[in-house]
């Protein structure tokens, strides 16, 4: 086990963590403010990826493709909120889960009809496909670094929006007492639609950035969604700080577990046994972590205040 490998895996973990944060931030905002469990959040990840690829092919520019995909996913989110989800805020979680489960089936099939079931693959443009050299012996793909930087930037912008702007103030007020906010003359329905759209756009951004390096296919958002659930269960539901911490923890544990658990086990048990137990255990690691966290702290690591 050498230093380069560890560094590389740490950066990979950071990249996964950033992706998960973009997903989890939207989920946790929507839950915290509208009290809505949105299983269809993974669909916006998928929609963002498909739209980015499509716009990329039309315009020939990846940056333009991603930038166009953002408002498009925001719009898609707002439309879904107005048509299907608005009536669900007052319902119990079971109804919300089932209805958004139905939306997932719909979106997965819709993308299969429009773009086909076979995955889409795109290449990075030349200027993004290189690597960055760190010293003489270690280099890391430039695009993955860009993802990490963009993710950190978005996290910062989100923090600024929630804590320093008027919109953020309304969001926080809406989360703690929606009736009072409405009574003070704020159009709470519009606020909800906007927050939902922003959440969808964050998921869309994660999907759009993933599009050039992973296969874009129907249902691609579902595993990410479930991992994002693990993230907010660990971090504490409704808290953006918790989402950030949870995302980084899950990203690191998952990536490092997959990379190093097998060799680590091989030093303890026989190599063939480690060969089969390593990957199995690595894929279970984040869920076991979640179980431990919940046994110790059922509300997660950073429970949202006032709830």
């Amino acid at each position: 086990m050498n230093l380069q490998l560890v560094l590389e895996q740490l950066l990979n973990g950071g990249q996964l963590g950033v992706t998960l944060f973009l997903m989890a931030a939207g989920l946790t905002l929507i839950f915290g403010i509208m009290n809505l469990v949105n299983l269809a959040h993974g669909s916006f990840y998928m929609v963002g990826a498909y739209l980015a690829v499509t716009f990329y092919r039309w315009t020939g520019s990846l940056v333009l493709g991603v930038l166009l995909a953002l408002p498009a996913t925001l719009l898609a989110g707002a439309v879904v909120e107005v048509i299907a989800l608005r009536t669900l805020y007052e319902r119990d979680h079971l109804d919300q889960v089932l209805a958004t489960f139905g939306l997932i089936l719909f979106f997965n099939e819709l993308t299969a009809i429009i773009w086909g079931r076979v995955g889409l693959f795109t290449n990075l443009p030349g200027w993004l496909s290189g690597s960055v050299d760190f010293g003489a012996t270690f280099s890391y793909p430039l695009y993955r670094l860009v993802i990490i930087v963009v993710g950190i930037g978005v996290a910062g912008a989100l923090w600024y929006m929630v804590t320093r702007t008027r919109l953020g103030m309304l969001v926080r007020a809406g989360a703690s007492n929606r009736t009072m906010v409405a009574a003070l003359g704020v159009n709470i329905r519009l606020l909800y639609t906007l927050v939902f759209g922003i959440g969808a756009a964050l998921a869309g951004l994660a999907g759009a950035m993933a599009a050039p390096i992973y296969a874009v296919q129907p249902g691609m958002g579902d595993p990410v969604l479930i991992q994002a659930f693990v993230v907010i269960a660990i971090g504490g539901i409704g808290s953006i700080r918790g989402a950030l911490a949870g995302a980084l923890i899950v990203g690191m544990v998952d990536t490092l577990g997959r990379a190093f658990l097998k060799p680590a086990l091989a030093t303890l048990i026989s190599a063939p046994a480690a060969q089969s137990a390593g990957p199995a255990l690595a894929s279970m690691l984040v869920y076991l972590l979640m179980a431990v966290v919940l046994v110790l702290r059922p509300e997660g690591l950073f429970p949202a205040r006032g709830r």
């Binding site: 839950f31 469990v37 299907a84 009536t87 669900l88 319902r91 979680h93 079971l94 109804d95 889960v97 089932l98 209805a99 489960f101 139905g102 939306l103 997932i104 089936l105 719909f106 979106f107 997965n108 099939e109 819709l110 299969a112 009809i113 579902d222 595993p223 479930i226 659930f229 693990v230 907010i232 269960a233 539901i237 089969s276 990957p279 199995a280 894929s283 279970m284 869920y287 076991l288 979640m290 179980a291 919940l294 046994v295 059922p298």
Partner: protein, 314 residues
């Protein structure tokens, strides 16, 4: 059963299901025996979920886990040459109950959305575990070497015999859950659902009761898994795919929660509808998805709400 109309619906359903094999033979359509056997197996799973969801208020989005563990238990024993059906099925039920005890112990400490997400996440974990078990087929799955053997008493290779065995088990499961719900144990479960502080105030701690119900529910669902693997004779991690948990949940809600018979109806309608739609178009999910949304928005009490009056709980 003292619940009039519900009992009549159930009796009618059982008679109808019992008439399927001769009718299918008469019409030369053996496919329907297969379809309805699948329906009944999922009905058992849905009834098991209803026990904790409808009566206990625990929204488990992970019931496919027990289906999968039941199937894996049967297949793994068969791989090592144990074909005795009684042993295999007991192992399936036992393993599912153990798993349910572990998952339940963590998840029942939480409630609401946490409960939903945790049950979902643990099932996803088992799904990935199934994928990484290369010895038992991994991602691609593997054939069940031989169906469960019952010493010549029942031959599961014979479609009709297997069909009536599943029907018999379905009736037993429905009656058992009914009895359980009406018992003192069931009263505590229902009381904890409708008013937890008051249940505590009269001296019951809900946790052990909920956990016991969760474990029983997992065991019944594990039995459904053992039946399902004998039905398909092919083991795949897809048995534990999270959309399958969603399907089972939908069956319960579609048929009507907390009615024991409703989930049977829900399984029947959902799977027959799926079958009809998928014969019609490859993109049947684009219809099923919005249908699900509409059922949730406008038919909250499910089909059962149309067929029998709501009864006061408890």
């Amino acid at each position: 059963m003292r619940h009039g109309r519900r009992a009549i619906v159930f009796l009618g359903l059982v008679l109808l299901l019992a008439a399927v094999p001769p009718a299918a033979a008469l019409l030369g359509q053996p496919f329907y025996v297969d379809l309805l056997r699948r329906v009944m197996i999922f009905a058992i799973a849905a009834v098991s979920l209803d026990l904790i969801l409808g009566y206990g208020g625990m929204v488990s989005f992970g019931h496919a886990a027990y289906l999968g563990v039941g199937a894996y238990a049967v297949t793994i024993l068969a791989v090592y040459g144990v074909h005795n059906g009684v042993l295999q099925w007991a192992a399936a039920v036992g393993a599912s109950m153990l798993l349910a005890a572990a998952i339940g112990a963590v998840s029942i400490r939480t409630s609401g959305i946490y409960f939903i997400m945790i049950t979902l996440a643990f099932t996803q974990m088992l799904y990935y575990l199934g994928i990484s078990l290369d010895v038992y087929g991994g991602d691609n799955g593997m054939r069940l070497p031989m169906r469960s053997q019952f010493g010549g008493l029942i031959d599961l290779g014979n479609g009709t015999e297997f069909y009536y065995l599943v029907l018999g088990l379905l009736v037993l499961v429905v009656l058992f859950v009914r009895r359980l719900v009406d018992s003192r144990f069931g009263m505590v479960i229902r009381a904890a659902k409708s008013n937890e502080p008051r249940t505590r105030a009269i001296g019951f701690s809900p946790y052990p009761y909920r956990l016991a119900a969760f474990v029983i529910s997992g065991g019944i669902c594990g039995l459904a898994g053992a039946l399902l693997i004998n039905h398909t004779a092919y083991l795949t991690p897809d048995l534990m795919h999270w959309t399958r948990s969603g399907d089972i949940l939908f069956m319960v809600v579609l048929g009507g929660m907390a009615s024991t018979v409703g989930p049977v109806l829900g399984a029947l309608v959902l799977l027959v509808l799926e079958n009809a739609l998928s014969n019609w178009t490859e993109h049947w999910q684009i219809i099923l998805g919005p249908f699900l949304v509409l059922v949730v928005l406008f038919a909250r009490r499910g089909l059962g709400g149309l067929l029998w009056r709501e009864e006061r709980d408890g």
